[in-house]
Amino acid sequence: MFDRRLLTYFDWGFACTILGMGCLGVLSIYSANALTTSPFRQTLHLRQLTWLAAGLVVLFLACTGSYRNLSRFAYVIFGASMLMLLVVLVLGKTGLGAQRWIRIGGIAFQPSEFMKLSLVLFLARYFDDHRETLHQPKTMLLPAGLTLLTALLVLKQPDLGTALLLVFISLSMMLLLGLHWRYLLPLAIGGGVLTPLMWTLLKDYQRRRILVFLNPELDPLGASYHIAQSKIAVGSGGAFGKGWLAASQSQLNFLPMNHTDFLFAVLAEQWGFVGSLLVLLVYVYLITRGFQIAMESADFFASLLATGISAMLAIQVFINVAMVLGLLPVVGIPLPLLSYGGSSLLTTMLSLGLLLNIHMRRFMY
């Protein structure tokens, strides 16, 4: 039975902010491609609008049943996500030289995006199950191992950004559990050992990107070109920006991938420092609200889930914006809610829907 009390607990402000950001994304995608003559790119904002509508449905669907039902299926969902990653590796559709998509009924779908949420779900359930033994290091072995495994699968696609993201999400959840530094030390050492190993697993272009980040003179055409153009776009926005549709740098073909990973550069050029500040503050609002929901939640699982989702959001925003601003290497991570891409938008909407769900049921046991 649907409880009418739930409606009163629904966070309309949070939901409206999400919708507003989605609309800002559509507008920015439109303006990013306003000058293109490619018929495909001219329709991207309409596609994104469709995704946004679908995302809203997902958002509300995610609020309906209790999140506790989700807890029951957490392992199954995680297993299924793993399977999809394997499927992608075997028969994935190649886009931009990487195998990230699978096609279901004409819709290309990126399982690695969904994997982020699945991992959070899995960790939440796992830590909930093992809450008596959380202080024991061996409890962390399985989640750490599985995280690395999924990260490797994603890295093999190859999608360095998402692979790193998965590791960061997992680490931040462990940190927020109050894990003692004594346990983190072996992890850090393990990471130190694994890094060179990972380096050998990286594709040439990924290595180039990292090297270029460390030394921008290295490759003027590839990755450093992105960084340079992105910085020019952002910087030329100045304090108040050039205005909507007037962002020459990011609209013209100077900035590649301007509607996906580099969308923040479009925003920053159009709306300047003031606009960028506002967008970042909105993200801060969404993220802190997420952590607040985690603290107020009714049970440990919900708290873990909300923490994970908020951390996921925070890390994505930080890495993406830092990359656009030339603070981090170019790794393919979309900006949640704003960047073009159905899988990313739907996953984000689903995650935020779960936050709303947890919030609605915070007094219900």
Binding site: P220, I232, V234, G235, S236, G238, Q249, L280, A322
Partner: protein, 596 residues
């Protein structure tokens, strides 16, 4: 929470720095000065002969580019350019319109400007905003058009190639080896393109080079070809159609490969109009075909070598076996002629080979039997591709005495008679004949023919070394082959191949004159001459060079093909006569030193 705060602060500080502190600088960069990207084409590696003499190298050319965004006055620019390039203005307009979708991407208007055009463009610079000249290396052929079919040509990757998976890394307009060595070894020859990040002003003129990624030149390919021998063979073949192939019979190294009619590789290096391309591609004389291994012909009397070996090996013939030749041979009441009216009289096997007596081999073939002839043919590599690896290879055809399909006529004794002199169902490529003759010369080893010795990177690293590969040993008596070599020596010294004779150099050879019978046309028409063959090796007692010549519609092998082979031997052994023995052994020692 603290983390979120710190993260946000980092991003805000960075934004402050980029947009407020450095905002003006970036604004200038984005409006006045613009960064452009352009590809710097890597020079292709050279193709050199075995002694390091260049056969294909590069020369600089100037191409005309337009950057549509910077062409501020399209009407005037098209007018001026149409004037300079002598092409209709509409053509330039159409090209510029194509580029509208990528206005910052320089667009190739015209390749390889000649001197006068370059000067004109430079003079009218002021009227031509957005128009640039760019230097680019193109293929040059210092030895003229020699070995064009072997070397191959380079041209832009075409539309149908771009749609294929194996070409997915190519950009439109990128150059690619399209045939021969250029194609087979393209991955080594092509190098890695570089790029430039340049700052241009509002009129599209280069202000400064921001960054440059140097292109990496392609690797140099060293052929087994000897340019000196190649050029001699080309010179001896002027005005003829067909092929000359020379090989070291003890290694399989190809020393010369001529194919005619050929094409001018310079045409591809420069701009090739659609019309010119169509003319070459649809030419009924097939100038793009490498006749050495892509064409096949009836072997004619060359095939008598196989019949003789088959007879000696099976015991059906001995060197003493005699048949009488009266100038004709009757099988039942069907008459088969000899080429010599009046006949050769009674001959033994050696004299039959020396004089290329047809009537002797009609009878010998019947005695040996078609099955044994086909078996030995296969053993010597006929009927299968020689394995050169340079694209399609003709595999020839051998008779099949047991027809598998119903309705096919049964094999008759008459068919065997025809096959015994290399006509009828027997078809071979010149390369197959070369491998066969080499095996006779070297004691029965079939080597894989190869044209590339090694590939060396620009920095001098040896990337690949190709060694001789003995594909198999023919199971044949050494005495049989020794007899054959002596008989072939007789062909040159006293028989049909005398016009290949080089003083001081013992050459073994066999002439062939293959009748041109087109399908459905029983009698050959008078105006179509026979194909002239000459297959040979030298020196007979220590073979170092094998040469096969085929002249399409040339006439008699001994008269037309043998003199070409003679010219090749003279060039190859010029400095070493009469002491021809050291010839190739010497150059081998030199190589060994190089590798140390």
């Amino acid at each position: 929470m603290v983390c979120v705060g710190i993260g946000c602060l980092i991003l805000l500080l960075r934004l402050w720095y980029l947009q407020i502190l450095e905002g003006d600088r970036y604004l200038t960069l984005s409006t006045n000065n613009r960064l452009r990207l352009r590809v710097v084409e890597a020079p292709r590696g050279f193709i050199l002969d075995r002694n390091g003499e260049a056969m294909v190298e590069n020369r600089p050319t100037f191409d005309l580019y337009a950057t549509p965004e910077d062409v501020t006055n399209p009407a005037e620019v098209t007018g001026v350019l149409a004037d300079i390039l002598q092409i209709p203005a509409s053509e330039i307009e159409a090209r510029l319109a194509e580029g509208r979708t990528r206005p910052y991407q320089p667009l190739l208007l015209r390749k390889d400007l000649d001197e006068a055009m370059m000067v004109a463009v430079e003079e009218r610079r002021i009227d031509l905003p957005g128009i640039n000249l760019r230097i680019r290396p193109v293929r040059a052929y210092p030895s003229g058009g020699t070995a064009a079919n072997l070397l191959g040509y380079v041209s832009e990757v075409n539309q149908s190639q771009l749609q294929r998976e194996e070409y997915r890394n190519f950009r439109p307009g990128e150059n690619l080896g399209q045939s021969g060595v250029e194609r087979r070894y393209d991955a080594f020859i092509r190098g890695v393109d570089g790029g430039e990040q340049i700052e241009v002003d509002a009129r599209g003129r280069t202000l400064r080079l921001v960054n440059r990624d140097e292109p990496q030149s392609g690797s140099n390919v060293f052929l087994t070809i000897d340019r000196k021998i190649q050029e001699a063979a080309e010179a001896a073949f002027i005005g003829k159609k067909g092929t000359v192939v020379a090989m070291n019979p003890t290694t399989g190294e190809i020393l010369a490969m001529v194919s005619r009619p050929s094409f001018d590789p310079n045409l591809f290096a420069q701009r090739l109009s659609g019309e010119e391309w169509r003319r070459i591609a649809t030419d009924t004389s097939h100038p793009l075909q490498n006749r050495a291994f892509q064409a096949q012909y009836p072997p004619g009397s060359i095939f008598k070598l196989i019949v003789a070996i088959a007879g000696l090996e099976s015991g059906a013939l001995t060197p003493e076996t005699r048949f009488n030749c009266s100038g004709q041979f009757y099988l039942g009441n069907v008459k088969f002629d000899d080429w010599k009216k009046g006949g050769h009289g009674t001959l033994d096997l050696r004299r039959a080979i020396v004089n290329s007596c047809n009537v002797y081999f009609y009878q010998a073939g019947l005695r040996v039997g078609i099955d044994e002839i086909v078996r030995v043919s296969r053993a010597f590599g006929l009927g299968e591709p020689p394995g050169l690896g340079l694209g399609d290879e003709a595999k020839g055809n051998l008779p099949n005495p047991q027809p598998k399909r119903r309705g096919q006529p049964n094999w008759t004794a008459g068919n065997t008679v025809i096959a015994s002199i290399g006509q009828g169902m027997v078809v071979t490529s010149p390369m197959q004949i070369l491998a066969m003759v080499s095996a006779i010369a070297n004691g029965g080893t079939i080597y894989r023919p190869f044209v590339v010795k090694k590939i060396v990177s620009l920095s001098g690293d040896v990337l690949e070394v190709y060694e001789p590969e003995a594909m198999r040993q023919v199971n044949v008596n050494p005495e049989t082959l020794a007899f054959m070599r002596q008989a072939m020596l007789g062909v040159v010294n006293e028989g049909t191949g005398q016009r290949s004779k080089v003083p001081g150099l013992p050459i073994g050879g066999k002439t062939g004159t293959a009748q041109v019978v087109k399908k459905g046309e029983e009698k050959r028409s008078a105006d179509v001459k026979d194909h002239a063959w000459f297959a040979s090796f030298a020196p007979v007692d220590n073979p170092q060079l094998a040469v096969v010549v085929l002249v399409e519609n040339g006439g008699f092998g001994g008269a037309v093909a043998a003199p070409v082979a003679k010219a090749v031997y003279e060039a190859a052994f010029k400095d070493r006569l009469p002491g021809a023995r050291q010839a190739i052994v010497e150059s081998k020692e030199v190589e060994d030193e190089e590798e140390d």
